[in-house]
Structures are given as C-alpha cells and as structure tokens.
Symmetry: C2
Subunit: 369 residues, 2 copies
C-alpha cells in the first residue's frame, strides 16, 4: 500500500562507518535522523507534559499498542480523536505491535500460526492478538508509524525455535501488510532471526522483497550480550534497503555506527525516576550524600528545567519523596539523549562519527544496553 | 524593625462587605490581593515546575518551615542561596513558623514557656522549636514573609487552655520580633484566641500595638465548624489595622468577604492528585466511568495545560497510574483557584463582591473548608 505523506531521505553518510543522517517525513511533521523517541507507553511520557517532551528536543514519540489496547482500549482512543488528540502530541507517533510485550509482560502467552493467546498482566483476562488485530488496533490508535506483529523468542534458544519464529514473523508480516487499510500510516516490518546471521539476512531479504516503508531489527535486548547484538546488526543492516529508515529498540551509539536511524528506550525516564541522571561526565546518583549541598546543576551547559537547579535541590526532592524529582531528572535525561543525538548528527555530517562515538562511549558506556 | 522593600496598599473596598483589593509589595515583586498562595511544603508545589506554578497565575507561594528544617535542614537551603535560588521561584515566598505542624504533624509535642519539644514525624528524633529558633530558621531560609511561632490548640478546648495558649502566643510574638535580624523579611504575627470573641479581640489589639507588618488569623481549621470560623473572623478582622495585610490558612470566599487578603490551602493540589478537579459547575471526580470517553476539557474556557485534553484522557492517566494525571489536575486546580481570585478582585473593584461570592458559593460550596 502506498503511504501518503511519508518520505525518507539520507542527507549525509559517514565515510568511515555505516552511520548516516537523514530526514523522515510523516503526516505529522519531519524527524531528523538518527532520532531518539521518548517512550510514552500509556500515551504519556511518564511525568511530563507534551510541552516538556517537546522542550527536551524530541520530534517523535512512541506509544505501546499492548498497553493501550488493554487500557483504555483502542475504541476509546479512536473516539477521542486518535493518539495525537488523545495525548496532545502533534508530532509523529510510532506504535509498536505488542509482540515484545507478549514476550515480556503478558502472562501464559501461547502462540499458534493464527494468533497469540495470552492473559492480561493487569487483570488476568484471556485475550488474543493476531497480525490483523495488531494492525486494526494501531489503525484505531492512528499512529503515524505502525509495526507488524512479530514472534519474539528469548535468547539463547534452540535453532529450530528461532527458525520457526522467524518464518512465522515473515508470514505474519505478509498478513499484516494485507490487513492494512489506512494510507496515512506507515507499516514497518521487523527482522527476526535470533543470533543466526544467515537467518537474519534471509529474513531481511524476504521482508525487503515485500517492500515495507521501514524496517525494525527485532528480537534483540532479549538475553544476548552487546557483542552478539552488534554482530546481528553487522549482518542485518546491510541486507536492508538503503532508502528506508531502520529502527532499533535500545542501544544507540553502536547501532548508529552500524546504520540504524531510529531508536527508543525507557532508560532516560526510568533512570530519571530512580534519581540517576546522565551527564557527559558520567552518571550522577542523586541520592548520594555528596550532592547534599552541591550548588552545581547536573550539566552547566544543559538548557533543561532541571539544570536551573542545584544538585542539592534535586537530591532534596528525591529524599523528600517529591514528584518533582522524578519529573525534573526525567526531563534532564531526555534532554541529554536529544543533545547526544543532535551531536551525533553533527558528527556524521562532518564525517567524524567514528571518533565521536568512540569518545562518547569512553565517557558514557553504551547507553541503553 | 523596619522592613525594606515591603509596602501594602488597599486599592478598592467593596461597599457592601469588608472585602478589599490591594497590592502587597515585597523584595521579590508585588502580589495582587486577595491572593491565593499554592503550598510548596518541601520547597516544591507537588508535581509542578516553578514555570507551571507561574503559568497557573500564582504570584506568591508558601513553604513550610517545619518540613524544611527537618529535611534538608535550613543550613543546606542557606548554603544553596536561600529558598528562592533553591526552588527556583523568583516571586515572593511566605514561610509558616512550624506552629501548626507542631500541633498537626509532630509527635509527642510538649510546650513550655521557653519552647516546644517534639519528635520528628520522619525519624522520631527529639527536636526543639522556640520563637527565636523559628525566626532564625526562616531567616536562613530567606523567605520574604516569615511567621511568628504560635501556640495552636485543638478545638473545642477548655477556656483556660485557650487563654493560656493565647497569652503565650503574645509573649512568643514579642520574642520573635526581638529575635529578628533581617530587614528584608517581613515578620507577620498570628492572632489566637480559640472561639472566644473577647480573647480574639484582645489578642488582635495587643499584637497590633506591637506593630507587625502583617497579621494572620490562626488557630482555625482545627475542629470548629465553618459558622464558628466565620464568627471568629467577624470579630477578629475589625480589630486588626486596616493598613496591614491579613492572612488566613483555608477558606477563601467567606474570608475575603470579611476582609482577609492572603490565603493558602493544599486542596487544589491534594485533590488534584486524587483525581478531583474543580470546575465552575462543581467538582469532577475523574475516576468515574462516565468520563471514559468524554471529549470535553475540564473547563472549556480554562487556559491550563490540562484543559487541552479530553476528560477521557485525564481519566485514563489516573486509571493507568500515570504521574501525568496528578500533575495535570493539580495544575488545573491551581489555575482554577487563581481564576477564582482574579474574578473576586474584579468583583471587589466593581463593588459587586457580595453578589459574586453568593453566586460562587452556591455553585462551588465553600472551597477550602
């Protein structure tokens, strides 16, 4: 199906790596790539208004199909005008398919060729999710980018299990594509294949033949090591078309190096709620007594609302159990990620991404893994 | 002591009641009276950034001496530049004295002529608070308006108990005044006297003789009925000087009618956290299923960030346990209070306060009591 209002352009290619800058146009505006999407699981980035999310530098956010289908239900979201009107975010929104939550959150999930059957993690109700239903829910949510339902398996896994799930993911991708009825929503495919390079390449090629407007590299952050993840990216990304955006949940700097364009991760907000602030000099654990009367902001050059305060104030908020602590440090961490991605785009445009990433990884560790 | 940077002017007097409009100038800016101060107990209005508090229309906020002395301690606040730098609020700040928390929150409080001895509600530590210490803490906090330490008793109480506490409050007011060293902080007195009109008038007159820059009517909202509170205001306010601001914790509309200028109350934020939203048509309990797919904002003419969303979205946030629900409804309720006070000021200026208050009380009930 032709997607109206979407376009993807590569605008700069790093000479020494697969890193690239690009622009992804959607019906709700453009996104500079590589881009980091804050996670708004339940149609809210935890603790922040959409104005604050926008002020962090974010251009696109993510919401979770599984959670919203369970509560409040996609019919409510549709009746209130779709996700954009519902949560007030007027930029692009990506919804996942629920495949990862079937793996990580739902109880008693059993998967057949037809569909997944599982129990809600909220009330234990028996529910079903098929490729067609995942598309229908996301069409009701009216996100800009929807994801096909995939079959995720924990790693390590038997080769036969991985192969079976990968083949099913391919068949489900086809069924998802055939179920699509909206032309103003881009449906991205998801590459599976575990840690098997041949299976990954085969899956990427078969999905590429189906001509999706974008591709996710799935089935990662499910038990493998970072090195194993990087090897999967090393073989998978080159098997994907150059002219489509690539999306990965999790790791940023090493994945950008390998040509991935779009990311999401709960760490900035989850860590923020737990008093851990990211800085260019490394993480700050604000509950530490050393910060009790520290007058410095988290980062002197950060424009976020948290950095108008002393570390001593932020620490006080956490020790006093005040909501503003999680709010401000979530906002800082999201701003930190956006500033990091902005710097990465600049480095790619200047042909210096390799040195940039090496330096950042030395200071920060591999964010998101 | 002369207070530098403070002035109080009555700019309009309602013809049919004691309601009045005024301006209270402080070293951190002016406040239009009658004014409502959001409560920032621990140097944060719960869940909101100072920008959001400002956007609600607030000009002045309150912080609690008892809480801040316990955690993080006034020395930390002072070392980080005082309350304004600490919490980032650049407008006027009022601190209470801790007298009410000794009554309501501290454990095993025993009061002698010299001081109060009590156990911290946080860790049970044995602590002391004297009039001199309450002034010293508030000077370290560097609020614009400080309160004298008073002796609060629960109502109903034996006449001898009330009389004793009132006499002590007068002696403590004198000691507080003598302990003051900052000239850039206005120290307000607190009128006690229980429900005894003669004692209230005597206390007000004695405090007026001491020439404080402002007066609170204390010892209310401690077990008495609204009618009893109004009778206390009816006799107390006329015994206070016309040319000084008057401050009351709690009830708004009936107290404005009786000539009170300055208010604080936790209800907008506490109710907001509990999914109860104030509207001109009466309160909305957002957990009610009737709002599940209600596309309307809380109030169609409200400019706050919450009112850019459907009630159905706000309900979803509370049912999903998302922080943004308490945040947005707190913001709405504070905005509601500020709009109410702004309308009250307009009604006073137009000489129509009595009709205004009667109409609002019919729709809203007596907010804050």
């Amino acid at each position: 199906m032709h997607c109206a209002g979407f376009a993807f352009h590569v605008v700069a290619q790093d000479p020494a790596s697969a890193a690239r800058c690009g622009t992804f146009h959607t019906p709700h505006g453009a996104v500079d790539l590589p881009a980091f999407m804050p996670v708004g699981t339940q149609a809210t980035v935890k603790g922040l208004t959409v104005d604050q999310v926008r002020a962090s530098g974010a251009q696109m956010i993510l919401a979770n199909t599984y959670h919203l289908a369970l509560r409040p239900g996609e019919a409510v979201v549709r009746s209130l005008g779709g996700l954009h009107a519902f949560c007030g975010w007027d930029g692009p929104i990506l919804t996942d398919s629920g495949g990862f939550q079937l793996f990580s959150l739902a109880r008693n999930t059993s998967i057949t060729e037809e569909k997944a059957v599982f129990r809600s993690h909220i009330d234990g109700n028996l529910l079903e999710l098929s490729p067609e239903r995942a598309v229908a829910i996301q069409e009701a949510l009216a996100s800009d980018v929807a994801m096909v339902l995939d079959h995720v398996v924990a790693l390590p896994a038997e080769p036969a299990v991985v192969r079976d799930a990968t083949q099913r993911t391919l068949r489900w991708a086809r069924r998802s594509q055939q179920a699509q009825t909206r032309s103003d929503q881009a449906l991205f495919a998801i590459v599976q294949g575990g840690l098997d390079p041949e299976l990954r390449v085969e899956c990427a090629r078969r999905l590429t033949e189906m001509d999706f407007p974008g591709y996710a590299i799935g089935g990662l952050s499910v038990g493998e090591t970072p090195a194993e993840m990087y090897r999967v990216l090393d073989v998978t990304v080159p098997a994907l078309p150059e002219d489509r955006p690539r999306y990965l949940m999790g790791d940023l700097l090493e994945a950008i190096r390998r040509g991935v364009d779009l990311f999401d991760c709960v760490l900035p907000t989850r860590n923020g709620r737990n008093a851990l602030a990211f800085t260019a000099a490394g993480p700050i654990r604000l509950r530490n007594v050393r910060y009790a009367d520290d007058p410095r902001p988290l980062e002197a050059d950060c424009p976020c609302a948290a950095c108008r305060h002393a570390r001593g104030y932020l620490r006080h908020l956490f020790l006093a159990g005040e909501m503003l602590g999680p709010i401000l440090v979530s906002l800082h961490n999201l701003t930190f990620y956006q500033r990091l991605l902005s710097a990465a785009r600049g480095a790619i445009a200047n042909g210096e991404y390799t040195a940039f990433a090496d330096e950042k990884l030395r200071c920060l560790g591999s964010l998101g893994t």
